[in-house]
Chain length 333, copies 4
């Protein structure tokens, strides 16, 4: 971290600041020019509050040279992390197709969709039991019962399952779930992240609607700093001014995250676009961009799905998409 | 709610849809033109999933005529809600100045600031005990101990207090807190909101960084639909492309929220701008825009505050601001 | 277009409005319910000012059913437009690779890059002569001289050329240019667009940094309504809150534009990302998303380029990318 | 400007870079630490392309210490600029109320509105003759005839006038116009700005929908660097995700611009909000925030205005607003 001092800073002011920085266990390297004086702070600067430092009267500007995240940082862990669940690998060259309905609705529905997507080559089954909905009057998911139905589908098909947690008090229901998802709206629910860090379950963390990639990696740090290194990142669109899509899928995120971090990156084109006809092209684009996996909504009766039907593929559409994605995947290897 | 059917919809398709809508207890009013057929849906459309309806093959477009929120809606509650805590009123013409440090740090600090802001005319004391921080390595607040210190300051000065909750499992610590704050990052932590709806404490809900005003009102609906009508709204800046300020304070929100809702609207210029020199002009602007209260960060030693020092006023600066705000308040009455 | 009237509108108010609408040559279809009255406006509603209509006291809400653009609209022109320059086709299944330096700098540079990208399979040469720069103190391009050098490179290699116009008074310099580009900052320079509509040159219009896809199509309408149907659309990233990339490349734009319009869609990953390492993955993603062409910056000495060196590939990097793009292109056919 | 070199940079690489920087007339101050080497660049760094410098292989990061704009910079011109037209002063403590219709429509209309707003205390008359409209099919203004009508209103009332230019070829029509406006869509039409810099007319430059405040100051630099120092800045709302208002008025811009620049700052709440009921509160908020002037749309028959009727006040509403603004203005002095 570098701090540039203002012209006119007195030696005693500077020494006062240096003492304060040294008390934070930082080594301070001073380089004094005629016009500006620069302090190079060496050591663990992840605890330094940049805004606080910037606010000091004698400080002109502050710049981080190194990233404030550690566990997720590729610099300290150059090799790709590979997450493995139920024999399925994600990351480090392994590509996973995650598919299933937005919400678990009935036993028939979830098992039907599970069998269909498995037949089309999906590796992991998704299905929501706890559903974060903007309106308290909308369907909120089958909750515990939804988890049970999802586990029946797992048993029936052998597919590992991923589903979202909204409240840490429900954790006991997730014992047999393979991957626990933290939704976009909870990406900065730090208490939830911290508690999930105490488990050893793979945690898939979705990027928040208005969160930077660095903030995503800082949130993941809440999980990893508690000892759980099984983390997957998920890009699902950000909020912009464009109304043609529900959100704007930021596919540069795949490369940026791969550069900054060793964690696998999954892309969810269904929630990002909110429109069934945009899901296949965006799924193929994400694959070409180097994503480690896709998360696709599939429903046997999208027009009557209890939530997000507008963005769900039919099993037939998914089957076609899976084949096209496989061809793109081959083309980029 | 209005649904426009596509040209070419057959009568049987239309009747199928109408039956489905009627099963949701809606009255359906058909108006058939040569080119387009329009269905007017009358009744409680807050349960209707607009995206689902839009996704049906025969539907061209869907438009809500009425807002999807009810309890917070001014249409059903024309009179301003007035929140009262410890003899202080907010809303309906009553203006409240909320001030205090970002974080509670020591007994000396919080009591010192409390006395100072009270002397300058503040009505309510703020101070964070549980602090949501982007980094797990940053100071996370004194937690339970911070609540105790805040309550000491309340006892000492008589000022009612407001502080943030991050985890519903901490609720027992908030028994003597006057207003419970839900932070921007938890604005869509629906489980937390629902549980707070079961209390009868005033809840101050901050707008999320990327949330629309309608989403803010829908989140508040989670609290109110459980029976707690003591809610305050807070505008604290949204995330945009502009780097000169931490966030962009959206002051139009004050008027828009007053028009849509009967709840009081408080503005927090400290978090919005992140810069001490922008706090006074934005505080005065918010007052002129008709805000029911302000939330201002004040610290006796901003340069050494444990968090957000860059945006904290000194007690002297606050005293000056309070006088200037009072003059603006008078000018608009 | 549909206008919903407010409850309580009197028949005379309604008739007054209907008369006014009829004077705009619209047919008005009234459907009167108990609670709401709906007017369906049929005819050329592209001249109707929606905000004006919404502002009338008796109008609750207004909604467009059809898009306000005509010439670019796929509904009235279902077949893909194919643009042809110098034997190169773009659109309707024809994919074009456009490559070259950000700025034309010297004869040696532009001819060198032109030969290199041709050898790697590029179809069209790009190179800026007039450069829109944020700062008046930055290099503004070689202007007329740059155009001449570009035309030399065209002559030398046979590649058609594309370059940006900033001022309609320079149009006489573009006689031998094959495609005239309108940059993102001029997307709503309506006078420039209108004048270019009077030529019959292919015009490539880049999406503005904060413009919706509908606005892009409306801008193109300025060109097409003057009789020039040779238009190409270009997605080059939009401005969002994310700092990791210069802009956020919105690849959903490719599908959305293809759905709404018959015009070819080109993607520029170089300007969108601003970083050389992000160009190849985003170029491949754009190809997989179905783009009709790519626009890639290539420079023989990127580190010393006079502008935008940070995002330019070397000829070797471009050669590698061209091969990988070709494989993705094959995979999606 | 500061450049941090990567760990492992060789002395010869570093000297190569230093030579290159010195050739740009910069003084280079090297401070070598164990881990990092920092170059301080002193001199006129406004010509240095930051992205180019950042892209060099040996450079870790680059940071500007000083702003890239000069003429508009308060550092080099601490005293407020005061613009004077027809006896009216703006800036440096002088507050101007600019009012009038969106478009000039008829002689009767513009003279009627001019007299009305003058009677209510307006200092300057606004009225559009050249109108930038998203759609080529919408009313584009009366153009030359509109300018003539505006000048008649000027003659009749004595009010100085401001109107927008869209095309530099129309400049001869603006001889008797007092302030020439550059609209938000042309904020980065650099050729237009440069040409206006050659006149000595006051130029009011509106902030683009997606432009940062620094970019606004850089655009103004195009005007000022040609010798025209009569510039006014105008905040008129930025594009965000919030649909409740047409744009989001960024009132922090007033203080930020005042701090960075000596130029007067005018606020346009009419275009920003797009809704008549939001204009008065935002006008008062802008005044309280310290704006040097307001630009308010007033129409004698807003419901039938040819453009933007939704945001126009009636003369009576304006009269009321002018009184309330005056009270706020008094309160902040």
């Amino acid at each position: 971290m570098i701090a540039v001092l203002k012209h006119g800073t007195t030696p005693s002011q500077m020494n006062h600041l240096i003492d304060w920085l040294k008390r934070m266990n930082l080594e301070v390297h001073v380089s004094q020019g005629q016009e500006i004086t620069i302090l190079g702070l060496i050591g663990d600067t992840s605890r330094v509050d940049m805004e606080l430092l910037s606010s000091l009267e004698i400080v002109e500007t502050v710049k981080r040279v190194s990233e404030p995240f550690k566990q997720a940082n590729r610099k300290f862990h150059p090799k790709d992390t590979v997450i493995e669940v139920g024999g399925v690998k994600i990351g480090g060259g392994h590509f996973a197709m995650i598919a299933g309905p937005c919400s678990v609705e009935t036993e028939e529905q979830i098992i039907g969709v599970a069998k269909a997507v498995k037949a089309s080559g999906a590796h992991i089954l998704r299905g929501g039991a706890f559903k974060p909905r903007t309106s308290p009057y909308a369907f909120q998911g089958l909750k515990g019962e939804g988890i049970e139905l999802l586990l029946k589908a797992k048993k029936e098909t052998g597919l590992p399952v991923v589903t979202e947690i909204m409240n840490i008090n429900d954790l006991h229901l997730f014992n047999d779930i393979d991957i626990i998802q933290v939704g976009a709206r909870n990406m900065q629910n730090f208490d939830l992240l911290r508690e999930l860090g105490k488990t050893r379950k793979p945690i898939l963390v979705k990027r928040g609607l208005a969160n930077t990639l660095q903030e995503l990696l800082m949130s993941v740090e809440y999980v990893m700093s508690k000892g759980n290194e099984n983390v997957l990142l998920c890009e699902r669109g950000i909020r912009t001014f464009e109304p043609a899509t529900r959100n704007t899928l930021d596919l540069s995120a795949v490369s940026v995250l791969h550069e900054l971090s060793h964690l696998p990156v999954v892309v969810d084109p269904s929630h990002a676009t909110g429109k069934v006809n945009l899901v296949p092209p965006m799924a193929m684009a994400a694959t070409a961009a180097g994503a480690d996996g896709l998360m696709i909504e599939v429903h046997n009766d999208p027009a009557h799905a209890l939530c997000d039907g507008a963005q769900s593929l039919t099993p037939q559409q998914f089957d076609d998409l899976a084949k096209r994605v496989a061809k793109v995947r081959e083309a980029i290897l």
